[in-house]
């Protein structure tokens, strides 16, 4: 029997004489870092003072972004799976969530969660108490509800970005040819098993780049939480400007720090992308 083979696939050769294994955009990251250091060293007043003041805010920005992102990946996956579910009811709920949330500005959503939802929950608790329902202390808890600024911000970012990320998951899942699901099902796997072992592992490679972009967007949009009493980097910057009126210096540093973080995350995303690509 003639066994006709194609030549072995070989790794793509380096193109344009570029250094392989080194991502040139790390240069931008280094440049931004150097500028910050140079500013801080050459003119410690005001730059070093500003950096020290921004420090706590940077921690909050990073924490809020990371915690939100983890929640977003989970909520987004649920929304995305809901959008491709067989059940019309589940698809409907997921679709309404996505369409409604995408139609409301993030800033307004943050306002609703921080300013409006505590009032709503308090009224609900009081209403329950008025009807003699304690629900094991739940009603009293609701009546005296106070919103924690950080948790509210994380909830707002999660709800909003969950809808966008859900669409990314959906598109990724739908980009996998139907034959993959059919082959898995024909081997006796359940819908869930086929999703988990066959479709999602392939979809993840498709959705990693847009998912990474969402992280970068989230990092930047997290500056909006400064409007709902979270002392992130942006808010710390504003506070500093309130004390000493040197907006150029403060905002230059704030912008440079955001740039440093976004360039860094974009590089990490592209690294993961390259690590997970495979021959199709």
């Amino acid at each position: 029997m003639p066994d006709v083979e194609k030549p072995e696939a070989i790794p793509r050769p380096a193109t344009n004489g570029r250094l392989t294994g080194f991502d040139r955009w790390w240069g931008l990251f280094a440049a931004v870092a150097v500028i910050i250091v140079v500013l801080a060293v050459s003119q410690p007043d005001p730059y070093w003072r500003i950096i020290k003041f921004l420090g706590d805010g940077i921690k909050i920005t990073v924490t809020v972004t990371l915690v939100s992102y983890v929640c977003i990946l989970v909520v987004g996956l649920i929304a995305g799976l809901g959008r491709v579910a067989k059940s019309g009811l589940i698809r409907g709920i997921a679709s309404v969530y996505v369409e409604v949330i995408r139609g409301i500005p993030l800033l307004v959503q943050l306002y609703i969660i921080y300013f409006a939802s505590p009032k709503l929950l308090q009224d609900l608790g009081n209403g329950l108490l008025a009807h003699g329902l304690t629900l094991g202390g739940l009603a009293a808890g609701l009546a005296s509800f106070r919103m924690n600024a950080e948790l509210g911000a994380i909830a707002g970012l999660t709800v909003c970005y969950g809808a966008y990320v859900g669409e990314i998951y959906r598109a990724g899942i739908q980009s996998i040819p139907r034959g993959q699901m059919e082959a898995a099902r024909s081997l006796g796997m359940s819908q869930m098993q086929a999703m988990r072992y066959v479709v999602l592992p392939q979809a993840i490679r498709v959705i990693l780049p847009p998912l990474g972009n969402e992280f970068v967007s989230l990092l930047k949009d997290s500056s909006l939480v400064s409007t709902v009493a979270v002392t992130d980097m942006t808010r710390r910057g504003r506070e500093f400007m309130g004390r000493e009126f040197i907006p150029l210096e403060v905002l230059t540093l704030v912008a440079l720090f955001y740039l440093l973080m976004t360039v860094f995350s974009a590089r990490i995303v592209s690294y993961i992308e390259r690590k997970t690509s495979y021959v199709r």
């Binding site: 066994d3 083979e5 696939a9 034959g179 099902r185 024909s186 081997l187 066959v198 592992p201 021959v279």
Partner: protein, 245 residues
């Protein structure tokens, strides 16, 4: 060969929107039989095949596979474990090596441990003639090799029935025989097979029965000898004159 048919199809209809793809098909397949379904494109042969393991749900009629009726949804996975399927487009999992392709369902559906699964996978790769390709990914294999891995993947579930949906149609001509040879071996070992294919060489060598379908219905059921020497129906003659140049 036991008299009781392992696949019983009774009065199956299937619509796609307004298209009536399968129109009242009755078909029995007995244990160890090799049945080849031929017919012009759009005649409903692939749809009928896909109904047997419920990749398509018949709108009317019943299908009983190995004594298990396919009407209740909880039976479907059970039937699929017993029915292997080979697709025109191979549908290998591109993110897994050939070996992992063959092991995945063994592990999570048959609950075999890694060692057992891999041992069987290596045996099956040897059986389909590419033992050296265990660690290759589908993208590194030729179409013929991919289809042979796909056959090994289906066989790893130790099915009682194998369905082949135009297994050589997507292959370059020089790779067709390597796949057909594997299928012929299976037929000789007594595997029950339902094959949608126009490979007349395979039909001659392996088919016990030929089913000719047109416009969603079975026009003629016959033996290979009868088909080539004495086709009864006009539509069968016309179709054969087109594919046997």
């Amino acid at each position: 060969m036991s008299a009781e048919p392992i696949i019983q199809i009774r009065g199956v209809h299937k619509w796609f929107g307004r298209v009536h793809a399968v129109r009242g098909v009755d078909l029995d397949v007995r244990r160890g039989e090799v049945v080849v379904i031929i017919g012009p494109s759009g005649s409903g042969k692939s749809t009928l095949l896909r109904c047997i393991n419920h990749l398509e749900t018949p709108d009317e009629g019943t299908i009983v596979v190995d004594g298990i009726p396919l009407t209740e949804s909880k039976n479907i996975n059970k039937v699929r474990e017993e029915v292997g399927m080979v697709f025109q487009q191979f549908n290998l999992f591109p993110h897994l090596s050939a070996l992992e392709n063959i092991c995945l369902a063994q592990r999570i559906v048959r609950k075999r441990d890694a060692k057992q699964a891999e041992q069987l996978a290596h045996e099956l790769l040897a059986k389909v003639g590419i033992p050296e390709k265990a660690d290759s990914f589908p993208g590194q294999l030729s179409g013929g090799q991919q289809q042979r891995v796909a056959i090994a993947r289906a066989l790893a579930m130790q099915p009682k029935i194998m369905l082949f949906d135009e297994p050589t149609s997507a292959l370059d001509p020089e790779m067709i025989t390597e796949v057909l040879d594997v299928m012929l071996d299976l037929a000789r070992e007594g595997m029950t097979m339902v094959v949608v294919s126009h490979e007349m060489g395979f039909v001659r060598a392996a088919a016990r029965r030929i089913v000719f379908m047109d416009e969603g219905a079975i026009v003629e059921e016959t033996t290979p000898e009868e088909l080539f020497t004495n086709p009864k129906h006009e539509r069968t003659k016309l179709f054969l004159s087109k594919i046997l140049h």
